[in-house]
């Protein structure tokens, strides 16, 4: 095998898998506070003229926005990292009270081989607080489960009119090491 091929096979394909899955389910709005783990998916969505992308100043804006999206008859997706989950708890009361479907994709930090300990508190609290405020949480650790999990989570959210989060583990996205990765 040539070096070239080796490098190519290392480029993760799961962001494309997520993109294709949300396209097949007719998501037309994507909002986010970026995370490195979501950067490829964000690029794919932003280059798609059928998707309205909205950059948020804080994640809770996205929870409110997706209520409006659903009131208007469209489907939306909220992207954030696990620390962002700490910013949305009260706003998720809307999803529980109004029973509107929303799908969140949460890239995990502070969970597996974390470099930055400041990420750990929300990494640990992420799932319990989401569940406490009424969101269902599904986790993906392996790229072979990405399509089925995102697809099932979207079905769950829109068939049951409820908030669903998919957490994308650091086992899937890789752990970030600033000293080696940011060179």
């Amino acid at each position: 095998m040539s070096d070239d091929k080796n490098i190519k096979s290392e480029i993760p394909q799961w962001p494309n898998t997520i993109y294709n899955t949300i396209k097949s389910k007719n998501f037309s709005q994507v909002c986010y506070v970026p995370d490195a783990g979501h950067s490829k998916l964000i690029t794919l969505c932003e280059s798609d003229t059928d998707i309205d992308c909205v950059t948020l100043t804080t994640e809770e804006e996205g929870v409110a926005m997706l209520l409006g999206t659903w009131l208007g008859g469209k489907k939306g997706l909220l992207l954030m990292q696990s620390s962002g989950v700490g910013n949305i708890i009260n706003m998720l009361s809307l999803a529980k009270t109004c029973r509107y479907p929303m799908l969140m994709l949460v890239t995990m930090r502070g969970e597996w081989g974390e470099f930055n300990p400041w990420q750990n508190p929300m990494g640990e609290a992420c799932r319990p607080v989401l569940e406490k405020i009424g969101a269902r949480v599904f986790n993906v650790e392996d790229s072979i489960n990405v399509e089925t999990t995102i697809s099932a989570a979207a079905e769950f959210a829109f068939n049951s009119q409820q908030a669903v989060a998919v957490t994308l583990s650091q086992k899937l996205i890789g752990t970030k090491n600033f000293l080696t990765d940011m060179k």
Partner: protein, 198 residues
């Protein structure tokens, strides 16, 4: 400074704003504006918020993007708007032509005992909106400018942001339905038809 007794009455402002609204989609913030808009007439195309403080304008954004051919009007209080100041930057950046935000500014958190908000202490929400990129901004402080304000014409070339200075009287609440799921389904059915429930 405008004398308190000369300030606009919030209920009358709401009635004037929504007169002949037809198919404008209306979101309210929690607190006083929820009751004001309801006092002007409960409507299937109202989505009065009883919670989610700071989120009203963003509900408006999601709706405005989903329904580009409809006019979306968010009416909220100064306290509610201050909690979601970042959303003004988000909305200006998203630049939805069909979204209008009107703040009923009584310079107080009316609902919680009339504590002063930041707008009583120097914050100018119109300047904030301008600074984050809104081009269509205005302020209404008296009856005359209220009379000449027409939501349909002023909301052209949106997104539009307007502050209406109102008196800090706290009239008795006029309650809309309070079940969120009901309000959501009622709104969707009026906008999208019966199929929206399937």
């Amino acid at each position: 400074m405008i004398k308190e007794k000369n300030k606009l009455d919030r209920r009358k402002v709401a009635q004037k704003l929504l007169k002949g609204r037809k198919d404008i989609l209306v979101i309210t913030g929690l607190g006083g504006t929820c009751w004001d808009i309801t006092s002007a007439g409960d409507d299937d195309l109202n989505f009065p918020m009883w919670g989610g403080m700071g989120g009203a304008s963003m509900v408006g954004l999601g709706l405005a993007i989903a329904q580009p051919d409809k006019k979306v009007l968010v009416v909220t209080g100064d306290g509610e708007m201050l909690m979601g100041l970042g959303s003004l930057a988000t909305i200006a950046a998203a630049d939805p032509e069909n979204l209008s935000i009107i703040v009923f500014d009584n310079e107080h958190f009316g609902e919680t005992g009339m504590q002063k908000t930041h707008t009583a202490k120097g914050t100018d929400l119109v300047k904030v909106a301008e600074a984050v990129g809104f081009r269509n901004v205005s302020v209404i402080e008296n009856q005359e400018s209220l009379e000449s304000f027409d939501i349909k014409t002023h909301s052209q070339n949106g997104p539009m942001f307007c502050v209406i200075k109102i008196s800090n009287n706290n009239p008795t609440p006029v309650l809309p339905p309070r079940d969120g799921a009901y309000l959501k389904d009622r709104f969707r059915q009026a906008l999208l038809g019966k199929k929206s429930a399937i």
